[in-house]
């Protein structure tokens, strides 16, 4: 692809990039935490768009339902419960410029080492036209010839997290 032919896909990519990165800047930059949470949802929605562009509709649906729907709401609830934090006087700690410098360096490093080598590679011609279906993904998770061990360990993880959250958050009686 060149920047010359402005396909609908390229337009969509640009749109989702603005949502994702704009949302991300909103998350780290907002004084009001409720705004941060809303920006987070915007950013996550942009990522769901990327999943659609990358032919992963199932993940896009999960992103919207679980991430935006559940985790986003969970975070909003937590902010509401700890109300006095919604309007912060100081957003950043004293080393914010050091963190900014480190982040910028890391980005340049990633660009030079990871992105530039793939520049030009994997153009439109080389991409496989068809992809595995959501049904195949489901089979891979549950059939035993796929990800049955991580799936089971992940279920343990969720149980542990649930028990842990209850133990921490309940009032001692």
């Amino acid at each position: 692809m060149t920047f010359g032919d402005f396909t609908p896909e390229a337009f969509a990519f640009g749109f989702f990039t603005i949502l994702t990165l704009g949302g991300a800047f909103g998350v780290v930059g907002s004084r009001n935490l409720v705004r941060s949470a809303v920006w987070l949802m915007v950013s996550l929605f942009g990522i769901a768009g990327f999943f659609v562009l990358l032919s992963a509709p199932f993940l896009a649906a999960v992103q919207v339902l679980v991430y935006i729907g559940a985790i986003g709401i969970l975070i909003t609830f937590a902010i509401m419960l700890t109300r006095s934090m919604t309007n912060l006087k100081e957003r950043f700690n004293k080393q914010w410029w050091l963190a900014a410098l480190a982040a910028l360096t890391a980005f340049l490093l990633l660009m030079v080492t990871v992105i530039v080598p793939t520049w030009g590679e994997m153009g439109a011609e080389e991409i496989p036209p068809t992809v595995a279906s959501t049904a195949q993904l489901g089979e891979a998770f549950f059939s035993g010839w796929g990800y049955v061990l991580p799936l089971e360990v992940a279920s343990l993880l969720l149980t542990a997290a649930m028990i842990g959250a209850i133990v921490i958050a309940r009032e001692d009686d």
């Binding site: 990871v114 089979e139 990800y147 061990l149 028990i163 133990v167």
Partner: protein
């Protein structure tokens, strides 16, 4: 139609210890609801019983060497040994917890379930044969630890330690997955032996000018950063002292050995099975090689781990000297010990390059079995010794968390001669004095490092060990030569804590006198790892 594998094809029996413990944990959660509040000791007994059963189930793992569940799980001597370390550590931790939890008013039945969740996470980590499993197991070992660290509601320090551990742990996890994603991008697979084969190419030949190589290097670096957090290696150690000091002492004890064992198991799995052929600096020798000549170069991560190991040993030991709180001192000592184990990890991997023809090289990964054994035996020795030391610290700790300063050890030999003697022995083991398990671990590691040609690193190791003697011996001096300012009884010195101390003492002594007990179990580990690769 879905093709369902039979139970035999899943090969579940090799994963039996982990599966048993995970199942038991979920059952324990329910059983615990029916145990009345004042009899939570029953839950502890059940937990110890389950751990003993898992220990027995784990014994066949030492001669298995099989994969299970679509190559995601591997049972070999390495996994068996990691399981053994963590199960033993967990048994001692439960013994330590029983009375401590009661007297500090945080006795929850769920505590034991969380501990077992963490233990099964470490066990799956030791057996992981896939990056996804390493990641999920890493989370399963960490998340219960975040909760357990923050368990003392009444104590602000404990909650702070929980939040700090959580934030840095989550940060490290993000690094781990980013690195794993890059490794996946370079090789197209998450399976560790497949990654090895993708790097090696079909016939064991690596393209030296490979654009995927840079992905792998950055990916491996991020994985090292993330697991460096877990094992508390410098410069990723900053959470350690505060978290160790703030968390309830039995949790700190388990964290210092369990999270370390899990982190090192993951690091060794990823580096040895997946990325042994990763070489960036071929040196000038490759240019001038004659056809048919063979040279040995270090793996890319060896150089990185060399630097981290040296920094960790120096920093940990020197800062530990200035500590007056023994819990904090043991935290810095735990950092230092991570350095010694990292030294063994650095000594594990080298690559032999042979020039076959002009611009055509073959590479073979060479494992130093002695270094692998050294790392594992050191972990075992450290588990017994450090849990023992924490057991003694806990016996002196008051209900409000005070009583862990150096001066609180004054005159302990007169008040509790047996405890003081065992504490002295643990301190000697941490220094690495002969007849202790710590000596065997250090000896194996230094030996392996010398064989791998890491002479400067070995010198740093020996010198920092000498430095460490200063702050460990200071406790012995306080116990034997100084007089007690206080004469009141040590509140924590209960029967269960005594059992824990005695188990730890026995382990430290037995493996110190008969190191072959551990080494025989490991006899086949290196060979197994090598055969699984080729």
């Amino acid at each position: 139609m879905i093709d369902v594998p039979s139970f035999a094809e899943l090969n579940l029996e090799v994963a039996l210890p982990g599966i048993f413990l995970a199942l038991f944990t979920t059952v324990l959660l329910i059983v615990d609801l029916f145990i009345p509040k004042d009899r939570k000791i029953t839950t502890a007994h059940l937990t110890i019983g389950a751990l003993v059963v898992a220990f027995v189930l784990n014994l066949p793992a030492f001669n298995a060497g099989e994969t299970a569940m679509n190559e995601m799980f591997i049972a070999d001597a390495f996994a068996g040994f990691v399981n053994m370390i963590v199960i033993t550590g967990a048994i001692i931790t439960v013994l330590l917890s029983v009375d401590y939890m009661k007297r500090s008013g945080i006795e929850h039945g769920e505590f034991y379930s969380l501990l077992l969740f963490s233990v099964s996470g470490i066990m799956f980590m030791g057996s992981a044969n896939d990056l996804i499993v390493v990641f999920i197991a890493l989370e399963l070992l960490s998340i219960p630890l975040y909760v357990m660290a923050a368990l003392r509601h009444d104590d602000v320090k404990s909650e702070e330690s929980g939040i700090k551990y959580f934030i840095l742990g989550a940060f490290a996890s993000a690094f781990f997955v980013y690195g794993a994603a890059l490794i996946y991008g370079a090789t197209g697979t998450t399976n560790l032996p497949e990654i090895f084969r993708a790097i090696a190419g079909a016939d064991g030949i690596v393209a030296t000018e490979n654009s995927a190589m840079i992905y792998l290097v950055i990916g491996a670096a991020m994985v090292i950063v993330a697991l460096g957090f877990k094992v508390a290696a410098v410069p990723f150690h900053m959470w350690t002292p505060d978290v160790y000091e703030g968390a309830p002492t039995p949790v700190t004890a388990f964290m210092s050995v369990g999270a370390k064992a899990g982190g090192f198991a993951g690091l060794l799995r990823v580096m040895i099975i997946g990325l042994p052929l990763l070489v960036v600096n071929f040196g000038d020798a490759v240019e001038t090689m004659a056809i048919g000549e063979t040279i040995t170069v270090p793996s890319a991560w060896q150089t990185a781990l060399w630097l981290i190991a040296a920094a960790t040993m120096i920093f940990g030991n020197f800062i530990a000297i200035s500590q007056t709180n023994v819990k904090r001192m043991l935290a810095y000592s735990s950092i230092a010990h991570a350095g010694y184990i990292l030294m063994a990890v650095a000594a594990v991997g080298t690559v032999q390059i042979t020039k076959v023809a002009e611009n055509d090289y073959t590479m073979v990964a060479v494992y130093a079995e002695s270094a692998l054994n050294g790392a594992l035996v050191y972990l075992l020795a450290y588990t017994f010794t450090n849990l023992g030391a924490f057991a003694v610290v806990m016996s002196l700790e008051n209900n409000d968390g005070s009583g862990t300063m150096l001066d609180d050890f004054n005159g302990l030999s007169k008040r509790h001669p047996l405890t003081a003697a065992m504490m002295a022995f643990f301190m000697l083991s941490l220094i690495g004095v002969p007849t202790t398990a710590g000596f065997i671990g250090k000896f194996l590691i230094f030996d392996a490092a010398i064989q791998a040609g890491l002479i400067p690193l070995t010198i740093i190791g020996v010198l920092t060990s000498a430095v460490s003697a200063y702050y460990y011996v200071r406790i012995i001096v306080n116990m034997y030569l100084k007089d007690a300012a206080v004469t009141d009884e040590a509140v924590g010195l209960t029967p269960y804590v005594n059992y824990a101390t005695i188990v730890a003492f026995a382990g430290t002594l037995i493996f110190g006198l008969f190191p072959m007990l551990a080494l025989d179990l490991l006899a086949s580990s290196g060979a197994q790892i090598a055969t699984l690769l080729f």
